[in-house]
């Protein structure tokens, strides 16, 4: 199965937010499918998901050039374990 072979999702995501140098929180990152599409531009990316198995896949799949600036956290969106005003951008990725 191919999902979005035309790249419409990535194109719209980049059109709606400038990730360059931003600290980004992705809520419901799952296995990181969407994360890899903008994380190279962000200065810091945190992927949040309650599914430990999905996060395990995301950590394994994380490209080596992103390893220093992409982190995954096992948590629900109702309790985000960060202090206030930490992120410039939040992405609700198929999770609302």
């Amino acid at each position: 199965m191919q999902k979005d072979p035309e790249g419409n999702e990535t194109r719209h995501l980049r059109k709606f937010a400038d990730f360059q140098g931003k600290r980004t929180l992705e809520v419901g990152c799952g296995e990181g499918r969407l994360t890899w599409r903008y994380a190279s531009a962000s200065s810091l990316t945190v992927g949040l998901d309650p599914d430990r198995n999905a996060l395990r896949v995301a950590r394994i799949d994380c490209p080596s050039d992103l390893a220093e600036k992409v982190y995954f956290v096992n948590s629900h969106a109702e309790h985000i374990p960060f202090r206030k005003e930490t992120f410039d951008i939040a992405v609700l990725a198929w999770s609302l």
């Binding site: 999902k3 035309e6 109702e78 005003e85 410039d88 198929w94």
Partner: protein, 139 residues
């Protein structure tokens, strides 16, 4: 959902951006495609749970807006395609992954199998999923 939006509002900087990206139930179109032609074979059936989920998400965002947490700055609908090599692969995916929120009527299944079977050698099956992206700014 509203509590989660409150948490997101808390961890965003002033003027921070929230992007809400999600699919919407909308009787997604099914097509059999090849390099030579595209044949429409029908639409999926939206199930109540999927429609209720969409409405709950919309309601949560309306509530967040009413709470003064975010203001909407932009919104757009766009399609993305899911593409399978065979009709049966598509049916399996729908029956396993999307079973809670969309259905496939038997006549649509038959029409898609038939169009794929008599189609070109490079025929594949795709579903056009309606997407919504909304940009919100923290107040």
């Amino acid at each position: 959902m509203v509590h989660a939006l409150g948490e997101i509002q808390r961890v965003l900087v002033p003027d921070g951006i929230l992007i809400d990206l999600r699919p919407l139930c909308d009787s997604w179109l099914i097509e059999v495609i090849s390099g030579r032609e595209t044949r429409q074979t029908g639409h999926v059936t939206d199930l109540p749970l999927g429609l209720e989920d969409d409405e709950a998400a919309n309601q949560a965002m309306r509530q967040a807006e009413a709470n003064g947490w975010f203001v909407r700055e932009g919104e757009e609908f766009f399609p993305i395609h899911y593409v399978w090599d065979t009709a049966s692969d598509m049916e399996k995916w729908v029956d396993e992954e999307w079973v809670d929120f969309i259905g496939l009527d038997e006549d649509i299944r038959r029409a898609t199998r038939s169009a794929w079977a008599i189609g070109d050698a490079d025929s594949r099956v795709r579903v056009r999923v309606k997407m919504l992206i909304t940009k919100w700014r923290k107040v």
